[in-house]
Symmetry: C2
Subunit: 561 residues, 2 copies
Amino acid sequence: MRVPVTEIHQEASPDGTPNEPLQVYRTAGPGSVPEEGLEPWRDDWIRARGDSGTHRARGHRLADDGRAAVRRGGPSQQWRGRRPEPRRALPGRTVTQMHYARQGTVTPEMRFVALRENCDVELVRSELAAGRAIIPLNINHPESEPMIIGRRFLVKVNANIGNSAVTSSISEEVAKLEWAATWGADTLMDLSTGNDIHTTREWIIRNSPIPVGTVPIYQALEKVDGNAEDLSWEVYRDTVIEQCEQGVDYMTVHAGVLLRYIPLTAGRVTGMVSRGGSIMAGWCLAHHRENFLYTHFDELCEIFASYDVAFSLGDGLRPGSIADANDAAQFAELDTLAELTHRAWEHDVQVMVEGPGHIPLDKVRENVERQQELCSGAPFYTLGPLVTDIAPGYDHITSAIGATEIARHGTAMLCYVTPKEHLGLPNRDDVKTGVITYKIAAHAADVAKGHPGASARDDALSKARFEFRWRDQFALGLDPVTAQEYHDETLPAEPAKTAHFCSMCGPKFCSMRISQDIRDTYGSAEAQEAIAGMRRKSEEFLAAGGQVYLPHPTMGPSGQP
Amino acid sequence: MRVPVTEIHQEASPDGTPNEPLQVYRTAGPGSVPEEGLEPWRDDWIRARGDSGTHRARGHRLADDGRAAVRRGGPSQQWRGRRPEPRRALPGRTVTQMHYARQGTVTPEMRFVALRENCDVELVRSELAAGRAIIPLNINHPESEPMIIGRRFLVKVNANIGNSAVTSSISEEVAKLEWAATWGADTLMDLSTGNDIHTTREWIIRNSPIPVGTVPIYQALEKVDGNAEDLSWEVYRDTVIEQCEQGVDYMTVHAGVLLRYIPLTAGRVTGMVSRGGSIMAGWCLAHHRENFLYTHFDELCEIFASYDVAFSLGDGLRPGSIADANDAAQFAELDTLAELTHRAWEHDVQVMVEGPGHIPLDKVRENVERQQELCSGAPFYTLGPLVTDIAPGYDHITSAIGATEIARHGTAMLCYVTPKEHLGLPNRDDVKTGVITYKIAAHAADVAKGHPGASARDDALSKARFEFRWRDQFALGLDPVTAQEYHDETLPAEPAKTAHFCSMCGPKFCSMRISQDIRDTYGSAEAQEAIAGMRRKSEEFLAAGGQVYLPHPTMGPSGQP
């Protein structure tokens, strides 16, 4: 079995010592011809298991794309690539990775992620079996490269894209997907709410090398012309099956927004800010009935188990401002999400749990620890959180601060936030900025957690920096293009990229050069041994209660020479 | 006494309730005519104390601007504005704010900062007296607006500017100063190392409404043509007095780089990365003698005490990569910085202590706690720290993550990092990005610390967001210009700024609108009382060991309806 990696080759050090190439985690897929989509390369693995078939498909209907498409007789940009027959589990069978893991079966998908994560496959299997990790992987999305979400593995990043009633085209959304995956997004959510919602998703899934998530209630609401009170379990169920057949890998389900929790939000500064949550709240209030996602949850589990769709249990009552963080509404819903997590596991359905949102830094850790405890370690998937509300236009940064903190304490996947958050929909540049910012947060958390091998890339880049291997410094970074652009702004000439100084200090002030001289003097094995001896002596002295750093022997008591 | 604030006026809420204007901390100064400089408005306060005079000035010499200026007969852009007579303490007098505070004197400067900080002036005085806060404020910089740095006060942000041998002009540096102060920088460091170093600083100080810091060793090195081994206490002393007379408010002094610590850096991934630290290390090694900044430290204290220049004790051995964080070299130097802190205090000289640099997130807190303990609460002033090294071009973000964490645990001032860090010198745009990013970090830390009133701005902005007061949302943010630009990209028309929806969801999906409906239903005093009653009942039930969230009564045991 082969897994994709990026191998970064490096120049030799100034003294001629070669530097080994560095392998970093990557997704092979981005770069498809959008009109054709990617190869369904995982099909063989799925078929070989013999537990799924192509019978009883719902199929695609014109109305799935909304009224404008019905009027026109089709979506604005028809999908003409591969149209696989939708598969589902044979009667009585369960096709989830959790199910296989619990049976003790090691699937090719598990081996694939173990190789990507550079870990033992038994760790993958046992974490899946326990529900502490998921591989979101619909059997109808064979184009996707298996990846794992769980706190024992690398922290992952999700990118949100999607059109709305007022913006964007299908091509733009496909371009955003490609761009997001190129810069390192691990999963993608298509949050489209406008026209051509089915066909936009078709283009995205057929071109996506990473798992795709959705929030089915958005499309269900389109089907009832935007009137929340006209929603029903039947419309929702139909939408979920439509999306399961298309290949959606995980779905956000706001089943924790219970009727009795809704009044708890009335005293908030920002009420409810989850779209899905407020749609369900609107429905509950209109009918004064319990949330149908909650009352039909087991039926939903049965459907998900037939395609291996994972739950992303939505936090419809998450705070929309730091003022509302960690309040009664939020934590009441979390209790219910924990209950639903355990219910999904009874069906061998994979689950992750969504988290906030907006949380001041001192309250971030409590969120993940509480979720991990209540939900028995089910992966936490958080949006940021933003640690302040005063910087619209910079919320990728305000949220990356909270994201690093929450991931460090156990969040398994971070949903990116772009600079456009709260202001508009992200364009292609914003998608890149959001992904890179969140790769930083995820990686910084991996390093802080002491994840095996996580700091190898930091160390390689730092060594390249110290040795003025500028090209290696660019190549080892998350965004070589931007790094080189910035460097070239002040020192554009090609020789500057091999110069042993830079524009910040100029040639004479170079601290790196002076350090190199020190290393040449003290860096030998003998010198290092002597230094270690000195340090041991100091420590002994300290341990004996002494004061190590006495005034220099040539000085008098006041420190004067 | 009057202090500057920005008063942000707000529109009324949709129901007609007025929203009070919000006052936020600001610096009045930016916006001077660069050729003229700012008014020396604080002169009266300084003179009224009667403890300083204008005798015995060193004055300005042509050679202070470097060899190019000597050849030309002057700097490239002469300063023709106000040239005040340099003042210094009368013989036997000490003019530091720490000295006054220790004598129990409340100065106008202390009253000014107490008003800005919205706190009791006795808190200001007592923190200054204890050394836990400083007001960096040279008596030769009467243009500056007093501000305080200490963990009991708002977290502050420093911006670095300065030319180097290969870039930039005087006008550009003055423009960067104005830009930095406009966006909220609390202090500025002029790190110039190239030509016209004295005159560039003159332009900057005369135009700076915020304290200005320098690293005098950079200019001293210019005076010996860049040869570290030719440095001497005499050249350094002369440079310090030159800068004290100009009005530099604080100076970075790398007096903790002791000869015996230098070998400890030889085994590092990135050796020494502090310019000043490596210059001193180079000198120590060339002469095999102890650092003259350490051996002459008391003499330096006497000079600083005569102008009220504050020490910023430089961390010349700070790590330059996360691999080198918290190592023996770094912590050995910190022990010496603690010793020097206490020595400066014996002279009533104000001190802050510089900190790293590059630290993985799990090791950040240890840095500030260790510094605070060893240095008896002297303000910590840190550069970042960056929590990963893999993102050149995004180091404002990698470092803002560490900066928020370290400030939350007690760092008093954060030195910004711009996107150009490690790649080139920041231009005007980078300065703005760096300042805004660090205002976010500082503010998020204030909020996490529970600083009185810190979250008022968050709450006002969140309320404006919830009520679709778009213009208020822009105005209350750190960067109204960018926020409005982003909003207008998708919804440019003027009516959209008062529309009760936005481009993200469109009119039908609006969660804010649904929340408003909920508030209208449940938000009354009576409804809230009823809700509180429900919550009390739930809590009683829980406390009695009950299970609150039972399946809905209409459902059977499996959750099916």
